[in-house]
């Protein structure tokens, strides 16, 4: 997916709750690319113009699993605290 599509998708799936700050999207994508978690390829977009398409790498998938489980832990913990309150 190219950068715009990513931001659009996030907006859609979260039902407009999460609106990506578009100015910091691309720096973040480039940093992820440097870390090796995503890789980029130039291709033709739906507009007919060239665009850079991003894709998870194997190590990116592993990192995703790690981050997801971290997130899981975090939200469970917060949920428990909130239930107490």
């Amino acid at each position: 997916m190219h950068g715009w599509a990513i931001s659009d998708r996030i907006q859609q799936i979260s039902q407009d709750v999460l609106q990506v700050n578009q100015g910091s999207l691309y720096p973040a994508l480039h940093r992820l690319e440097h870390r090796g978690w995503i890789e980029a390829q130039w291709g033709v977009s739906e507009l007919g113009r060239r665009a850079k398409f991003y894709r998870l790498t194997a190590s990116g998938r592993r990192q995703l699993a790690v981050e997801a489980s971290e997130w899981e832990r975090m939200t469970t913990a917060i949920g428990r605290v909130m239930k107490m309150a």
């Binding site: 715009w4 578009q22 691309y26 720096p27 480039h30 440097h34 090796g36 130039w42």
Partner: protein, 880 residues
């Protein structure tokens, strides 16, 4: 940092424009797509695009953050800084050239010092695995000399120890005349070249077959230096034969240029050690007692410590002779990298470093002034958002670039300095000595280049940091508004720099003054000997003595011939003298002389007489003493006729193997002569006691009084005597002997004068430029003062007062430093020797140098001061 990151970074460095274009394209696409989305909801194209842009935010900010994420920021900014610096230099080329010139001068001098140091301490000879070569030495406690090995000891070492893969021996400093010309050679055992693992460039090297005891082959191998110096690189040299001490030798090979024979400079030739009796007839028949140096190659894998232990075991077995301690000294470089060596070179580096320091101070002042004129440029950059560190980094890049260019120039300058110094030294050495000495400037290698680069970086910190910090300390609002400060505020940095310059110049000039005074004093000093028309003849080979003495006596220009042991440059033998009734012992020194000695050298007889011919030929127990000794030992009588008890000092350093023996311990004094000072630089006192001998005694030198021009007579004598002994020693006029003594002082003087002059010139130009700059900055203020009634004197005083205060501080600090250094120097063990030669506390030298600096600075300041006094107040006030 992983592989992908690295690949992306490299790509960003290699193809920066493509990466930029991709970034722009990616961001542009995003905005385009967002625009399409809004168009699809019904907006017009312009509205959609506007909304997309607003949604995105600042595209340039996003682009900047993407660039940061790329990780090449450091390299990017560095490249950009360099390009900017180059543009700045192109705009003001004179400033850049001045800086490069000044720093290159200082770096060149320091580089020359390092080249010399490098040659001694780091240069490795072109032999196989030099790290495995060690000299076996037996140091003597309390004595700088070591006990040399003898041939049988060397052979025992070779046979019985197991630590070396092979060992060779050599005898160095053999000076002999070959085909009439002085050549310096070494005698080596046959395996010398094999142990070192080198082969000849022409012909062959020596082999063990050439070096059989009592059956050595008469062959020599030339070094490249000897080949070019004396045989003009004749390609057909191999096979030619030459005469060495009357014997015919064949030249069998020439060594390559880079081979130095494990020394600082190679000798002219190598010959087999077994021929020592031929080359040095004094050793004929006594080859087994010649003192030689032993060097070996450790077995592979053997450490120095293990080898030393093995040798110690061998030595304690009584095989190594009397001296039981044995050490291994690495022969990898000519001098070890030890604290003593560093200390020895420290003065050289210090002195040259001072010039570099003054130069950097000048440059720093220049940059401080430039900073004021660049206020607007720097102010704009700072106000646009550049951080202070960023601008400082850019200014430092400029300085670093200039310093690196200076380092390259410095390489050439150091070369020039070394070559020029060598040629000047060689041309001013007294000509009689020139054939014994051949200096060549050491070459530079990669270490010198690295050193210069490092020195350039350090210099950059010196002259670039403070100006860069000052330049970026701006009041931004006022700068951008155009109210550039005219910086009349006193700047501590500038003042400190001037003080530093004056201090360094003071140090150098004080040194120059001290050397000058000492040189003058030394040349005016009367050694007490008649120098005008006396010549000394050194007889080296005893078999020729009778013939040589006869030839000298028969020469028509020779008026009188005397003999002396030791020669006038040698140290007389130390002893204890006492009288029969005076139990106390005085330390005296004695000399063996013939009766003519006193008249030839014009040593006046005060009481009594000198020896007679019978007394000298029969070695009678008579003596002549000098008046101070006579007064010391016989307080009450005049000394003549008294009995002198003379006991040689067994522990003194003056004990030599070749000294003639004293005929007895009691002597009758026959005469008292006046005191003789001797050559002061030799560092010891002249003889007070004279014991008789004659020219026929071995080891004595001849001193002759001649008619006519001593130099012509000397040359004639030399010719005549070389016909008898082609391998003879030196024939020198006594006047030249005196000049040998003062020559090092003269060299020291000229060196410090040149350096002091350089330092003063740099300081003067620094003072001049700073003062001119200040006057220009304060033009308005001075104009107002003149308008209000200030006289020329008032204005001049205004301009000069600040400067004179700084100069005063610099002189006090410089003088104090010099005094302190002198005190430290005088407390070291070498103090007594130095004190004899130079007076490091000479007040006249101090006063003269300080006066010199004050005068120079005042002169330098006079022009700006006069310019200030001539300011037209109306014109300046109109410039508002």
């Amino acid at each position: 940092m992983n592989l992908r990151d690295l690949r992306l970074r490299v790509r960003a460095l290699m193809a920066p424009r493509r990466v930029e274009r991709e970034l722009d394209e990616e961001l542009a696409f995003h905005i385009e797509r967002e625009t399409q989305k809004h168009v699809a909801t019904g907006l017009s194209l312009e509205d959609a695009r506007a909304r997309a842009r607003v949604r995105f935010g600042s595209a340039s900010l996003a682009a900047e953050e993407c660039r940061d994420a790329r990780g090449t920021a450091l390299v990017d900014t560095a490249v950009r800084d360099v390009l900017y610096a180059l543009r700045t230099f192109r705009r003001t080329p004179t400033v850049a050239l001045t800086i490069v010139g000044t720093v290159a001068l200082g770096l060149g001098l320091v580089g020359a010092a390092f080249t010399i140091f490098n040659d001694f301490v780091f240069r490795v000879d072109a032999v196989q695995d030099p790290g495995a070569l060690f000299a076996v030495e037996r140091p003597r406690s309390g004595n700088p000399d070591r006990v040399r090995f003898t041939l049988p000891e060397y052979e025992a070492l070779r046979r019985e120890t197991d630590v070396f893969s092979d060992v060779f021996a050599r005898l160095m400093d053999i000076d002999s005349r070959i085909d009439g010309r002085m050549m310096a050679g070494e005698l080596v055992t046959g395996n010398f070249f094999q142990v070192l693992g080198v082969s000849a460039a022409l012909g062959r090297t020596l082999t063990p077959a050439d070096d059989i005891r009592h059956a050595g082959r008469q062959v020599i191998v030339l070094s490249h230096k000897g080949w070019s110096r004396l045989f003009v690189n004749d390609p057909d040299i191999v096979g030619r034969s030459v005469i060495v001490s009357g014997f015919r030798y064949e030249i069998v090979g020439v060594m390559p240029e880079r081979f130095r024979g494990l020394g600082l400079a190679p000798p002219d030739y190598w010959a087999p050690l077994s021929l020592v009796g031929q080359v040095r007839p004094i050793h004929a028949g006594r080859e087994d007692s010649v003192g030689i140096d032993v060097i070996g190659r450790l077995k592979p894998g053997l450490s120095r410590k293990t080898a030393l232990a093995g040798l110690a075991v061998w030595a304690s077995g009584g095989n190594a002779g009397r001296a039981a301690t044995i050490t291994l000294k690495s022969k990898r470089t000519s001098m070890a990298f030890s604290p003593e060596v560093l200390l020895g070179f420290a003065p050289l580096f210090f002195v040259f470093g001072l010039i570099l320091l003054i130069g950097c101070a000048n440059v720093a002042n220049l940059l401080l002034a430039r900073a004021v004129s660049r206020q607007r440029e720097i102010g704009i950059r700072l106000s646009l958002g550049a951080s202070r560190g960023r601008v400082i980094r850019q200014l430092l890049t400029e300085s670093l670039l200039l310093a690196l260019v200076s380092a390259v120039c410095a390489l050439a300058i150091s070369r020039v300095v070394l070559d020029a110094t060598t040629s000047v030294l060689m041309s001013t050495i007294p000509p009689e000595l020139a054939e014994f000495l051949s200096l060549s400037a050491p070459g530079a290698d990669w270490r010198v280049a690295v050193f210069l680069a490092v020195a350039a970086i350090i210099s950059t910190v010196f002259f670039g940091l403070v100006p860069a910090l000052q330049a970026t300390r701006l009041d931004l609002v006022r700068t951008v508004r155009g109210e550039l400060t005219r910086d009349a505020r006193p700047s501590w940095a500038r003042d400190a720099l001037i003080v530093v310059q004056v201090t360094a110049s003071a140090l150098l000039l004080i040194c120059a003054g001290i050397f000058l005074r000492s040189a003058l004093r030394a040349s005016a000093a009367d050694p007490g000997w008649r120098l005008a028309d006396t010549i000394m003849v050194d007889i080296v080979n005893e078999p020729f003595r009778t013939a040589m003495v006869a030839a000298v006596t028969a020469d028509p220009s020779v008026r009188a011939v005397a003999a002396s042991w030791p020669d006038p440059l040698g140290q007389p033998r130390a002893a204890f003298g006492s009288s029969a009734d005076n139990p106390g012992r005085s330390t005296v020194a004695y000399r063996f002389v013939s009766p003519e000695y006193f008249s030839v050298l014009d040593i006046g007889v005060l009481r009594g007489r000198v020896f007679t011919q019978e007394e000298s030929s029969s070695n009678a127990a008579v003596a002549v003493v000098s008046e101070t000794i006579a007064r010391q030992i016989w307080v009450n009588s005049d000394g003549v006729g008294q009995v002198l008890r003379l006991q040689p000092d067994p522990n003194s350093e003056t004990r030599r193997r070749d000294e003639p023996p004293l005929p007895s311990q009691t002597f009758t004094v026959v005469g008292v002569v006046r005191d003789v000072a001797g050559f002061r630089m030799a560092g010891y006192s002249e003889a007070g006691v004279y014991v008789p001998t004659g020219p026929a005694t071995a080891e004595t030198s001849l001193i002759t009084r001649v008619h006519g021009d001593p130099e012509l007579v000397r040359r004639a004598l030399l010719e005549r005597l070389t016909a008898i002994d082609p391998n003879m020693g030196m024939v020198l006029t006594m006047r030249t002997l005196g000049r040998i003594e003062t020559y090092p002082l003269q060299v020291g003087f000229w060196l410090t004068v040149v350096l002091g002059g350089l330092a003063l010139m740099l300081t003067v130009s620094g003072v001049f430029s700073v003062l001119s700059y200040l006057v220009e900055q304060r033009t308005k203020e001075i104009g107002v003062r003149i308008a209000l009634g200030a006289t020329t004197g008032n204005v001049t005083r205004l301009v000069l007062s600040q400067l004179l205060r700084l100069v005063g501080i610099g002189l006090i600090v410089g003088g104090g430093l010099a005094w302190g250094l002198a005190t430290v120097l005088m407390s070291t063990p070498a103090a007594s020797r130095i004190g004899n030669i130079v007076d490091v506390f000479d007040p006249l030298a101090y006063a003269a140098s300080l006066l010199c600096i004050v005068t120079a600075c005042v002169l330098a300041a006079s022009i700006p001061a006069l310019r200030a006094a001539r300011i037209d107040p109306i014109a300046t006030l109109r410039q508002e």
